[in-house]
Subunit: 412 residues, 2 copies
C-alpha cells in the first residue's frame, strides 16, 4: 500500500461504503463494521499473517471493505502491515497483514493435579512468556493456588512489560461456566470453589474457567490436528480421564453450563470402584493408574518413567499388544461408545494417551472402524494423536480468554 | 379489536414504526418484521391461543408492534382474533389471537418396524386426520412404503380438502439430514434409501427426514413433559432402542448431520451379540427382545401381551423388581452413562419404556441420582415417562415439517 493509498483510506469506516460480507446481511452499518472487524481479527489471530487479498477471499468481503477494516485495526494498534517478502505476479502486491502480539495479551492458566502452568499469550497465539510450578498437598489448597496464580500473573506481566486483558483457566473437574465455580474436582480435592470470581477479583480482569478436556477440544479445534473439524471429541488421559466435545463448531455443554464427563462413562460394569461412586468408569480402566497396573509399575511411579516404558514398548509391537491387551480393549470400547454417541469426524487423543505405542493406537482405530455403525455411516471417524502434547489445555485456556477479547476489540 | 382499530392498523407493517423485539437489534426493518412474524407464529403454534398482551410480554415486543404483526398475520390468513370469553380487569380487553389450523398443514409420517402412521397436522398442532397400516415383509420394501405413503397423503389431503405445505418423516435408523438419505436402518432392513428425495419428488413438497429418537426428543421439547427444557435426552425403547439429544435447545447431530446412536452404546461388554457388530449394546439389553426374555415370554409375543404383563407387574412391586432386576440394572447403567455424557436436566423415557412398573423406574431414577457425578453437579437430572406415548415420533415429525414453514410464512 502506498502512502497515498493510506492517506485516502477509509479508517474505521462506517457508513454505506461497506461490502456485504458473510453474516452481515441485514445488519446496520455499525454492526457490519463490528462484525467484519471481529472476523478479520479472528482470522489473523487463528490463521496467522496473510495478505489483504487472502482476507478478502476467505471472508467474502470486497477489497475496499477489507482496506477499511484493516486500516481501522491498524489505527487501533491490533495489526501492522508490510510488503510481502516475495512478490508474486504483476501489478501492485497485496499487503501482508500481521496481528500485533502485544496489542492484546491474555493470561492462560492450566491447573493440573501435579502442576500449575501459566502463560501470557499475545494476539496471534504467540507465547510471550510462561512459568509453572509443581503442585503438592498442602499447596494444592485453593487459597494457596489462587494466591500464587495472582502473584505469578503480576510477575509475568511486569517482566514482559505488558498489560493483560483477560484470563482463561483450565481445571480438571466439573466447572459451572457462568461464574467459574468449580463444583467438584475429585483429583484436586476441590469442591464448590468460586475460582472464577476470586481470580477475577484478584487479577481485576475478566476470568473464564472451564473443564480441562473441554479446553483441550477447543485447542485441537482452533490450533491442533482437528483444525477445521466442526465435530470432534478430545480425550485426555492423565491421572484422570476426560473428554471434550465440539459439535457443529460449538463446545457441547449441558444443563447449568456443565459439560459431560466422558471419563466417568461406565465401560466395565464389573470393573474397579471409582471415586465417583460407579464401578469400571473409563477413567478407572484407562487412566494413569490403569497404565501403571498394565505395565507392572508401582503406583506413584513418576510420569517420566511411565512414558519411557511406553516409548520402549513402541519398538516392540508384539510385546506392546500383549502387555497392553486389556488396556487396549477398554480404550477401544470407550472410543466406540464415544463415536457412536457423538458422531465426530475425528477423535483426538491427548496427553498420556499420545505416548501409547503405535500398534495399540492402530488396534483401537480398527475397532472403532469395525464396531461403530455410526463411524461407518459417516465415512469413518479418524482417531489421531494430539500434537499439542501437555500444552493443549494452556492453548485452549488462551483461546477461551481471547474469544470475548476479539469481540470487544471490534468496538474499539 | 374494534373495526375502527382494524381499519387503522398497520398491516404487514414495514418501515420505522416497529419496536425492538428480542434478537432484532441491529437488523433492518424488513428483517425485524420477518423475525417478529416468525416469533409470534411460533409462539401461537407451540403455545396455543393467547392474548395480544401475553404475546407482547412473552416476546418482549411493544403493543404497537404486536398489533402490526398480528394484523399482518391475520391478513395473510394465519391467525384469527376474538374477544376472550372472560374479561379480566378494567379497560379494553386484550384480543385473543388464535392460530388457524388450516392456514398451514403439514404431513407427519412415522415409519416403524411394524407400522406406518401418518397424520395431517394444522398450524397450532391440531391433528386434522390420520391413518396407519401394519408393516410386514415384503410390504416393508422401500418402494412399497414410498408408494403407499404418497397415495395415502393424497387421500388424506383430499378427504380433508386441504393442501399440504411440507412433510416430516421419522425413520428408525441413521439418516443424513441434508437430503434424507436413510444410510442404514437395521430393523427395517433398509440401507442407502434416498427416502427424502423420492418422497419429495412424489409429494411435490419439501420433505425432511430424521431419526425417530431425534424426533421424539423434539416432540418432548416442544409439546411433551420436557417442554421448556433446553437440555434433554429422549430414550425410546421399541424393537430397537434409540436416543435423541437436545442440547442448548438444538438437536445434537455430528459429522455429516448424523445424530449419534445411543442404543448402540455398549453397556455390557460380555453381553449378547448385536446386529451392529458389538456385544452388549444398550439395545440388546433393554430392547423389546430383552424385556420378553426377562418376563419369560416367547420371542414374537405380540406387543399388547407384553404391555399387559408389564401393567400387571405394576401392581406387584416386589415381583416387578425381582423379575426385572437384570433389565433394571442395564437400563440404569445406560442412563447413568447418558446423563454423565450429556448433562441433561431431564431424561424422558418413551414408548415401551413407559409401560415399565413404577418401582423399576423409581430404582432407575435413584441410581442416576446416586451414581452420576454430573447429575449431582447439575442439581439432579429428572427421569420421567413420556406422556406422548407412541405419538412422540408423529408429533416430532410434524414439528420437523413446520419449522421451515413458520420461517417461510414470515415472508408472505
Amino acid at each position: 500500500m502506498s502512502d497515498r493509498d493510506r492517506r485516502s483510506g477509509v479508517t474505521g469506516g462506517s457508513g454505506a461504503g461497506h461490502g456485504g460480507g458473510a453474516g452481515t446481511e441485514g445488519a446496520r452499518p455499525d454492526d457490519a463494521r463490528r462484525h467484519n472487524r471481529t472476523a478479520v481479527l479472528r482470522r489473523l489471530h487463528l490463521g496467522g499473517p496473510c495478505t489483504r487479498a487472502v482476507l478478502a477471499g476467505e471472508l467474502g468481503l470486497n477489497r475496499s471493505t477489507i482496506k477499511a477494516v484493516v486500516d481501522g485495526l491498524a489505527e487501533s494498534g491490533f495489526v501492522s502491515e508490510r510488503l510481502p517478502a516475495r512478490r508474486s505476479g504483476a501489478g501492485r502486491p497485496s499487503l501482508l497483514v500481521l496481528p500485533r502480539p502485544r496489542s492484546a495479551v491474555a493470561l492462560a492458566v492450566d491447573i493440573r493435579v501435579d502442576r500449575v502452568s501459566m502463560a501470557l499469550v499475545g494476539l496471534g497465539g504467540e507465547n510471550l512468556g510462561r512459568l509453572s510450578w509443581r503442585l503438592r498437598a498442602p499447596a494444592r489448597e485453593p487459597r494457596e493456588v489462587l494466591t500464587r496464580v495472582i502473584e505469578s500473573a503480576g510477575m509475568l506481566a511486569e517482566e514482559l512489560d505488558t498489560a493483560v486483558v483477560a484470563a482463561g483457566v483450565s481445571v480438571p473437574g466439573l466447572v459451572r461456566r457462568a461464574d467459574g465455580l468449580v463444583r467438584e474436582s475429585p483429583h484436586l480435592g476441590w469442591s464448590d470453589v468460586a475460582l472464577g470470581e476470586r481470580l477475577s477479583a484478584g487479577l481485576r480482569i475478566p476470568v473464564t474457567v472451564a473443564n480441562d478436556a473441554e479446553l483441550g477440544a477447543l485447542a485441537e479445534h482452533h490450533r491442533g490436528v482437528a483444525r477445521g473439524a466442526a465435530d470432534l471429541v478430545f480425550v485426555v488421559g492423565d491421572v484422570g480421564v476426560g473428554g471434550g466435545v465440539i459439535s457443529g463448531g460449538r463446545a457441547l455443554r449441558g444443563a447449568g453450563g456443565y459439560p459431560g464427563e466422558l471419563g466417568h462413562m461406565v465401560v466395565r460394569p464389573d470393573g474397579r470402584r471409582c471415586h465417583c461412586g460407579c464401578r469400571g468408569c473409563w477413567e478407572t480402566e484407562i487412566g494413569e493408574a490403569a497404565l501403571l497396573r498394565a505395565l507392572d509399575l508401582a503406583p506413584g511411579t513418576p510420569r517420566g518413567e511411565l512414558v519411557a516404558e511406553l516409548r520402549e514398548l513402541g519398538a516392540k509391537p508384539a510385546a506392546a499388544l500383549t502387555r497392553l491387551a486389556e488396556f487396549t480393549d477398554w480404550l477401544a470400547l470407550g472410543l466406540v461408545n464415544v463415536v457412536t454417541m457423538f458422531a465426530p469426524e475425528v477423535v483426538v487423543l491427548g496427553d498420556l494417551l499420545t505416548a501409547l505405542p503405535q500398534p495399540v493406537l492402530g488396534t483401537v482405530a480398527d475397532r472403532v472402524r469395525e464396531r461403530s455403525m455410526v463411524s461407518r455411516a459417516i465415512g469413518h471417524t479418524r482417531v489421531v494423536r494430539s500434537a499439542l502434547g501437555t500444552e493443549a489445555q494452556l492453548v485452549g485456556a488462551a483461546e477461551l480468554a481471547f474469544d470475548p477479547v476479539l469481540v470487544a476489540a471490534s468496538g474499539v
